[in-house]
């Protein structure tokens, strides 16, 4: 929305937004890893992952006030700030999350049963993934190094970031990408907290959205998220369009599903991390 005016954001706002984006990625990937374990019948693993996720939700509640959807962004800034005491708690909790996830991710990536259910299942080649317009971890698991964070939006220009890529293109590769991104996100969170500059958290934006249009790409946990907004100088926007990553990833099922075993369908459908309620807009 700030691109419509356009408004210059304070550096602290940008870092805080990056912080919450990465925290949401940690939470989303832990949720997905749990759901994957559930999809192939490893119920205790599912609850173990969600147990770790609870710590992330506590961090979100502490910093933003809500447990899943932070609702901290306003036009021109954010509503909440991170205090030095909170920063200390966050760093300690992230350390625990890393240790706990490390032992579980080792199981997911090395266990015989997990491999039997995921290796070679739902293969999408690099060309197919590119042609079907896949985004996010699905595209990266097929060997395409594509991530919106590479465009250095928000604070990613200052952070030490490089995309995680696997080449196999099967469910196992998608699991590996998400598992490695989980640890990468924890590293990014620590980097964000260390580099966070002091300053204002919000700038006052006056007036209605001007007659202008803005197009923004962001990397959500599931992949590339697109926002398009068009103002006409009045209080209401003329047009607002959001394209969620699931909408772009669904066509890949056309390649993955034909000829597969019926028992593999839940694992394959889940491997694109579908969110149908997000997609339907």
């Amino acid at each position: 929305m700030e691109k419509l005016w356009p408004v210059e954001l304070s550096p602290r706002t940008i870092y805080l937004r990056t912080f919450w984006a990465e925290l949401a990625r940690v939470h989303s990937h832990l949720l997905w890893l749990g759901l994957l374990a559930d999809a192939f019948g490893f119920e205790s693993m599912f609850l173990q992952f969600w147990r770790i996720r609870e710590r992330v939700l506590d961090l979100l509640e502490m910093t933003a006030g809500h447990r899943v959807i932070p609702s901290v962004n306003v036009v021109g800034g954010v509503r909440r700030d991170i205090t030095p005491e909170q920063k200390k708690v966050i760093i300690d909790t992230l350390d625990i999350i890393r240790k706990e996830s490390d032992s579980l991710v080792k199981v997911v990536t090395n266990d015989y049963t997990v491999k039997a259910r995921t290796v070679g299942v739902g293969v999408v080649t690099k060309e197919q993934a590119f042609a079907l317009g896949c985004v996010g971890p699905v595209l990266r698991a097929s060997g395409v190094s594509e991530d919106v964070r590479l465009t250095k939006y928000d604070a990613y220009g200052d952070l030490n970031y490089e995309p995680i890529v696997e080449t196999a293109g099967d469910c196992y590769a998608r699991t590996l990408v998400r598992a490695r991104e989980l640890f990468q996100s924890i590293d990014l969170l620590l980097e964000v907290l260390n580099k966070m500059p002091e300053g204002e958290i919000a700038v006052r934006v006056k007036g209605n959205p001007p007659a202008n249009e803005a197009f923004v790409r962001k990397e959500a946990p599931r992949g590339e998220l697109i926002y398009y907004a068009k103002g006409n100088g009045t209080r209401n926007l003329e047009r607002m369009k959001i394209r969620t990553p699931t909408f772009a990833n669904l066509p890949s099922l056309l390649v993955m599903l034909p000829g597969c075993q019926l028992a593999d369908v839940p694992v394959i459908v889940l491997s694109i991390d579908p969110c149908i309620c997000c997609m339907e807009r």
Partner: protein
């Protein structure tokens, strides 16, 4: 399975991950968004909160001096708290207790009543002055 063993053993010898909910309740964090409450002595029934609310949780009928709040529609996004020109909406950092039904909360602005009374009195005074 052997890879899972350390986690299993750890679970056996550590405490529960859950708590007996109604008996043991975790206190929310300091700034957790609990619920919103309206101050009847500050509200002027201007209706800005009802206009801004994304989940249609507030309706305002100024003529009847009646503000209806539907707590179970509210998503505690804080928009109304910041939009209110007379700072009549407060964010309470405690969760609302769970409930079997979805009650509505009706508020009546004492400030608006007072304003109306004073304007009526002023009008009467003006009318009696003109009569004389």
């Amino acid at each position: 399975m052997p890879l899972m063993l350390p986690t299993i053993l750890k679970n056996l010898f550590t405490g529960y991950a859950t708590r007996l909910y109604p008996v043991q309740v975790r206190e929310p964090f300091d700034k957790a968004r609990g619920h919103i409450s309206f101050s009847e002595d500050k509200c002027t029934m201007c209706g800005v909160c009802a206009l801004r609310c994304p989940s249609v949780a507030i309706t305002v009928e100024k003529k009847q001096n009646k503000l209806t709040f539907y707590p179970f529609r509210c998503i505690v996004c804080e928009v109304c708290v910041h939009a209110c020109p007379s700072e009549a909406i407060d964010l309470i950092f405690k969760w609302r207790p769970s409930s079997y039904d979805k009650p509505e909360e009706v508020y009546k602005s004492t400030r608006l009543e007072h304003l109306r009374e004073t304007t009526d009195a002023a009008k009467d005074a003006l009318a009696s002055k003109e009569d004389k």
